[in-house]
Symmetry: C2
Subunit: 135 residues, 2 copies
Amino acid sequence: MSVETHPELTKNQALVFGSLSDAGGPLTAYAILDLLRDSGFRAPLQVYRALDKLVEYGMVHRLESLNAFVACSHKGCSSHGTAAFAICEKCGEVSEFTPVKAMTLLQDWTRSEGFQLSRTTIELRGTCRQCAVPN
Amino acid sequence: MSVETHPELTKNQALVFGSLSDAGGPLTAYAILDLLRDSGFRAPLQVYRALDKLVEYGMVHRLESLNAFVACSHKGCSSHGTAAFAICEKCGEVSEFTPVKAMTLLQDWTRSEGFQLSRTTIELRGTCRQCAVPN
DNA sequence: CTACATACGTAATAACGTAACGCCGGGGCG
DNA sequence: CGCCCCGGCGTTACGTTATTACGTATGTAG
């Protein structure tokens, strides 16, 4: 449970993580950069470096199909390796969930193939309940 | 071959699909552009337009985590919606497979959430059997 | 002190993707 | 036939996303 399995965040990392947490949804690296200009950020690399670490610590996920980043929903994020995302193409809302059984099946496949799994990306695109027209 | 559930390819579409088939692996749009310069291609848009159609026809898949494209392994590609990919980070090889059960579980989740699924991305990163050090 | 590792700042550039415009050829249809 | 529409195409320009390269500062182990 380990609320703190990773080191203290540096100033830049804390700023980037704060932006993502406040946003409550995905942000691109350049959107984060714009948000943090007032805090002294001047170049993309400052954002990307912080994001790399935050992803490494499991506090932030990258959404490959969006080229964006989102703060992990779980406070201490224990389930870092097993997250999946449902992305609404109408409103942009992103739901994180943890499809344990599906992950297990995929791991079974990798084991049978001798493939050493390091990272799994599962992203579902579609329309969320709110945006699905009810009538 | 070619069950042909889709229209005849245009010249550009055929050239792009040919590049991807010949490559036998993923190519970025710009790599395709470079391959096709001798065939008269001059601008990215020519590639992207063809790729859009080929993806729509189910003949080509986009690898989100690579920003690249691959020809579908299945000749007529019937299983367009249910493909997953294992990507070796050492040699770059990409294996396409069809995790029917895992897909079903994910669909179960979407149904329970009222999420209308339109597209699923599953990409596994790791090391393939050949590249895994045996000793 | 030196050596090494980590974070940081900045500039420049590479890689990926799209908007906007106009042209052309083939159908449908009055 | 003349007209319109539409899909594909070519080109220019631009917008967005990500990285390379180089230099500085700080901390810690030997």
